[in-house]
Amino acid sequence: MIKRLTLGAPAIARTAQPGQFVHVRVGESYHPLLRRPLSIAEVDREVGNITVIYRVVGKGTALLASLPPGEFVDCMGPLGNGFDMNTERPLLVGGGMGLAPLLFLAKALCPKPVTALMGGRTKEELWWRNVFLGTCRSIHVTTDDGSMGRRGFTIDLLPELLENCKYDRIYACGPLRMMEGVARLARDKGIPCQISFEDHMACGVGACLSCTCAGTDGKRRKVCSDGPVFWAEEVLEL
């Protein structure tokens, strides 16, 4: 079950950048205890709202989904570092819930000509297409079962897109294997590529080290505070 939650959070809405996240406490009790890191999917700076889109996977997200409208939620943010926006012809590649931060990115880049490539297992998972409509110059779709768009994975269709168009940035968010594949193709074409990681986190601010990953330079990176957005070659062995 996918849920969309809009929070009145003027201070966060004012400064949030695409790729950043909020750390949300889902209840007052000690079970579940920890906050949930959720990508910021939409921002309305004038009204002071932020929107997160999340999948209900466990007790925490189920509790969040059960809150009635108007409820107060304890929310820290914006946290982490966002995408580099220095682009004229961006290509966004996303899979699953990885499309949430890319939605914010697509809207922030508009009216630049944004191309989106999105993948899912089935047509039902590609409801994202309707959400992205209006913010992208073109949208390409793949499904594992061929029920919508091209049959296969995003990285099966990506070479074709790279052949025909000149993108100057690729942004990817989704399963690790997908991001690795996208980053390899981007490297081969000489296009700078940013990826966004997600991981289990406790603190969200770089203190607990539960979400660190190895950098290609031998130094460790914290997904929460050094990322979640990284240049692909910084954290992926390609």
Partner: protein, 303 residues
């Protein structure tokens, strides 16, 4: 009325410290809480050489708690002294460095290298359940615990706090051994060894299979151990384990802790250590008490 306490010669504005491993080096939380209002910051476990920590998933949530198996990821003592410590000088808060050696010689060397301006004290991590070398082995045996304290004592004039493991049959004997060997204070408890399993994948949730349990779930165990140890040693006791609120902290003080440390609560509420200190102050004022000392060890446990 004062919240100030002095633990093993370390002067603190409040009796509420942050627990090692839960507060980074401090500046990570500077955007959220005034670090100058914290009693003392106990820095993440530091080793002689840099460590990458454990592979795989490092945290899992459990009812009223969490498991972790970070595996002492840290940049190593030299990087800490040269790069991190100078930045901490900007804050008016005692910095206590938690150190973890694989051998007693490593503990001694760490103590030598950290005996520099800016470090207010050392906390000996003889109880980390998540590393293979050293780690918990030192904290589960009186002789080993004493050997580590002795080695450190010979190599520093800084106050030495020994952090005890709850994963033992008799924590009192380990506390006594540490005190007899020259430890200026003891802190307890470190995490309890635990495990959780993903029933859909039939796999342990943690990459390390087992990890350290922290959070409110362990508070009754920690409180019992603090009470037991505080009655058995003369040196100050720092109590920690699942403290989320001022009421929790006051329980530890009544049980005999001269100061407390807040750990997992920081992840839930970055301002926890300051808010807990304010709550203790309110409690003392309400009762017309002048000092934190007025409640330390004052639980009436006579039958």
């Amino acid at each position: 009325m004062t919240l100030a306490v002095e633990i093993a010669g370390i002067k603190m504005k409040t009796p509420v410290m942050t627990a090692s491993g839960t507060f980074g080096s401090g500046p990570e939380y500077a955007d959220f809480v005034d670090l100058n209002k914290i009693g003392a910051i106990v820095v993440k476990g530091t080793t002689l050489t840099p460590r990458d920590g454990n592979k795989g998933r490092r945290i899992a949530e459990t009812p009223a708690g969490m498991l972790n198996c970070i595996g002492l990821e840290n940049p190593g003592v030299d990087e800490f002294v040269s790069r991190i410590l100078p930045g901490l000088a900007a804050y008016d808060v005692p910095i206590i460095v938690n150190i973890a050696g694989a051998t007693t010689d490593e503990f001694a060397e760490l103590a030598r290298r950290l005996s520099v301006p800016g470090v207010a004290g050392l906390e000996l991590n003889i109880s980390c359940p998540n590393v293979k070398e050293g780690g918990i082995a030192f904290g589960t045996d009186c002789m080993s615990a004493a050997a580590v304290v002795t080695a450190v004592r010979k190599n520093t004039v800084l106050p030495v706090i020994t952090k005890l493991s709850p994963n033992v049959t008799d924590i009192v004997s380990i506390a006594r051994a540490a005190e007899d060997a020259g430890s200026d204070a003891v802190s307890l408890i470190n995490t309890l060894l635990g495990m959780s399993i993903d029933i859909h994948r039939w796999r342990p949730e943690l990459g390390n299979v087992v990890g350290g349990l922290s959070g409110p779930a362990i508070k009754p165990v920690a409180l019992r151990m603090v009470w037991q140890v505080a009655r058995a040693v003369k040196c100050p006791v720092i109590g920690l384990g699942g403290i989320m609120t001022a009421e929790d902290a006051i329980e530890f003080l009544l049980a005999g802790a001269s100061a407390v440390a807040v750990g997992t609560a920081n992840f839930v509420n970055p301002r926890a250590s300051v808010e807990i200190a304010e709550g203790i102050q309110d409690y003392l004022v309400e009762r017309g008490l002048k000092s934190v000392r007025d409640i330390v060890g004052r639980v009436n446990d006579s039958i």
